[in-house]
């Protein structure tokens, strides 16, 4: 099935995380038509999976709420979820993108009442919680999900569970015959905002991620702290549900490492500094955090945040790249290394180890349609050869949220420059 959904004055935004949403909304609020393509069933991306932001300790879903409200009230943005751009043809000002849309098995009739989830028995890994928990195979992706519409996991299609879901829905919202579709989107300019993925911590072998249950990643730790997460916001360690009061944060887990990621991922120092607050919030009496680092990269005003954490007696800083982690008889991860400020050896047990995993651009290894110039880390470079395909956010560099939003706003202008020329030429 082929459908043309836009003219070439339209801007195509690929990726519905904070960068993509920002680029789409900023362009739409400047009067442009936008098609926003997101591969997940809901918008929000990785920031929606964070509990709090540094340095304000505010909640990412708060900004998401505003962005969703902007979106709901702006008919210029057309959102396609479960959709992936598989090809882009054409030239600046006149592209045609091929978009593969996977079946949701739930149509617009869905009221998000939840009857299907109650009817279905199968539980599957919950990617929103980085698989730390499970959810029903008929599910709302998360509490802030937009579109606010349930999804059926393909695993139940063709099973009695699917029929149960269908039978439970009073509104005819479940369509088990939905098929994958391919549609064409015409656009004058493309903003590529596919964000990042956490570096695969299992590749950092000495840290035993995957072997030791109590070694987790920083993104997973966000879910443990989040009230919407699998523990309801209690910091409990995965192996035995014990309260994790003594937490180690290991910086540069994958970053600044020629065996892994060459670049510095920029956000991880701040993320760990922030996460020490979670430990203190959970355990004000006896929570303890230790940060193992090479250089603390708390740039610009973040320095103030860093100094405040420095002043906190419950947080210890050790200048050291941790050499390895072992596990003691009680399931405590033991962190081994040397504090390089004066050569002090340590082998310290903690309740939980959090690896501040690096940022790898999602475009790395992804077949970006067209010819896009990327650097050796896989980030999209600004290059005239890219035509009117503009990188935004963490697809272009290791950025924190604030800088990603700036980048996305800038990308919106670059796209508008192209479509404005098109509009003028047509006028």
């Amino acid at each position: 099935m082929t459908e043309h959904v836009a003219t070439n004055e339209t801007i195509l935004v690929v990726g519905g995380g904070i960068s993509g949403m920002t680029a789409a909304l900023e362009a739409a609020e400047t009067g442009k038509n936008v098609v926003l393509v997101e591969k997940n069933p809901a918008l929000g991306g990785r920031t929606s999976q964070l509990y709090r932001y540094f340095p304000k300790m505010c909640h990412p879903v708060c900004g998401l709420e505003i962005n969703l409200r902007r979106l709901k009230s702006n008919p210029r943005v057309r959102v396609l979820t479960l959709a992936e751009v598989t090809g882009i043809d054409g030239v600046a000002g006149d592209y045609t993108a091929t978009v593969k849309v996977s079946p949701r098995y739930v149509n617009a009739n869905c009221t998000a009442c939840g009857d299907c989830a109650r009817a279905v028995e199968l539980e599957v890994d919950d990617p929103f919680n980085y698989n730390l928990g499970k959810h029903k195979a008929a599910y709302l992706p998360n509490a802030m999900a937009y579109p606010q519409r349930y999804v059926l996991d393909p695993a139940i299609i063709g099973t009695p569970d699917a029929d149960k879901a269908k039978a439970a829905c009073k509104y005819g919202a479940i369509d088990l015959d939905m098929q994958e579709e391919t549609i064409q989107v015409r656009a004058g300019a493309v903003i590529w905002a596919t964000g990042w993925k956490p570096y695969d911590a299992a590749k950092i072998q000495p840290y035993g991620y995957g072997r030791f249950k109590n070694v987790i990643t920083s993104v997973e730790f966000e879910r443990l702290a989040d009230v919407h997460g699998p523990t309801g916001g209690k910091i409990l360690r995965p192996s035995d549900g014990k309260e994790a009061k003594n937490v180690a944060f290991i910086q540069c887990a994958g970053s600044r490492d020629e065996n892994h990621l060459r670049h510095c991922s920029r956000f991880c120092c701040m993320a760990s500094l922030k996460q020490t607050h979670y430990v203190r919030e959970n355990y004000p009496q006896d929570g303890k955090s230790t940060i193992y680092y090479i250089d603390i990269r708390a740039i610009d005003r973040f320095e103030d945040f860093y100094q405040k954490v420095r002043d906190d007696a419950s947080v210890t800083f050790i200048k050291s790249k941790v050499a390895r982690i072992s596990e003691d008889k009680d399931g405590n991860p033991v962190v081994w290394g040397v504090n390089t400020e004066g050569y002090k050896r340590y082998s310290t047990p903690h309740d939980l180890v959090v690896l501040a995993v690096g940022m790898e651009p999602s475009v790395k290894g992804m077949d970006i349609p067209g010819h896009i110039v990327a650097d050796s880390s896989g980030f999209i470079e600004a290059d005239p050869a890219n035509g009117a395909v503009f990188g935004a956010g963490c697809a272009t560099n290791a950025l924190d949220v604030n800088r990603a939003v700036q980048s996305a706003t800038a990308a919106a202008l670059r796209a508008i420059q192209v479509v404005n020329k098109v509009a003028k030429a047509e006028a």
Partner: protein
Amino acid sequence: MAKREYAFYPGCSSQKGASASNYLTSVESMCKTLDVKLTEIPDWNCCGASIGYAEAGELPRHVMNARNFALSEQHLPGQEMVATCAACWLGARETRERLTHSDTLMADTREALKEAGLQINEMPEIRHMVEVLIEDLGFDEMAKHVVRPLEGVKIAGYVGCQTNRPFGVAGESFENPMYLDKLVDMVGAEAIPEYDMKVTCCGGALAFSEPEKAQAQIKDIIESAYDHGAEMIVTPCPLCQANVEIYQGQINQRYGTKFNIPVLYYSQLMVVAYGGSAKDAALNGQVIKARKLEEIAAKPVKR
């Protein structure tokens, strides 16, 4: 299946009456079963080992290894070189890499080799016996020959350092290589994949020069094996084998422990599992006798 042929580099410790002579015996027996033909490189010399560094210098060390390449090339053209000793393999492989990447070093090496009337053209690939087993034969092939599974024996796979780092066996991780555990499973014994000292250093040459430092490490290696319920330790490296086995008495004196755990080569396990006798497996070469394995070796073969 066609016979596999390799140029064999046994190394100093595997010579008759040397500390790893039991390794050699069992490897020969194992290879017979697996239809692998090892032809000793004529007049091979010592790799220099890592411990020779004080005097070795860079070029002399590489020249020593290059001599073996030259001999292998000359006498066994086209064959890959196989070492059973971790240090031999590592030393040779390191030299091969350096020579490949440095034209100067290659030229200098050639010049020195000339003095011994030798030359290198195409350096042979350097393989460890474990690589041959895993990559060339594969576990399925190796398993076919198991006729006397080592049932009921719990064995800790101690990989050690030099077969594992910096090169390692392809597809294995530096921190948690699994091939010994797979091998233990393959011979019908019980592996301990979570054995957490499997890549801890045995102290290497420090076992000779600074025994107290090395023995502290060896103690951890053995202790953890006991903690995980191991009855034996298996290793692919002669120095690991010797260090972990022969100092147990001294460690017991030093730390008041009661260690008495046999330390074997993978090849010895395989020979017994393949139906070989205790003698084929050179079990008499154990300082700490592997009684349980001897008992199994005395049992009839299940065909």
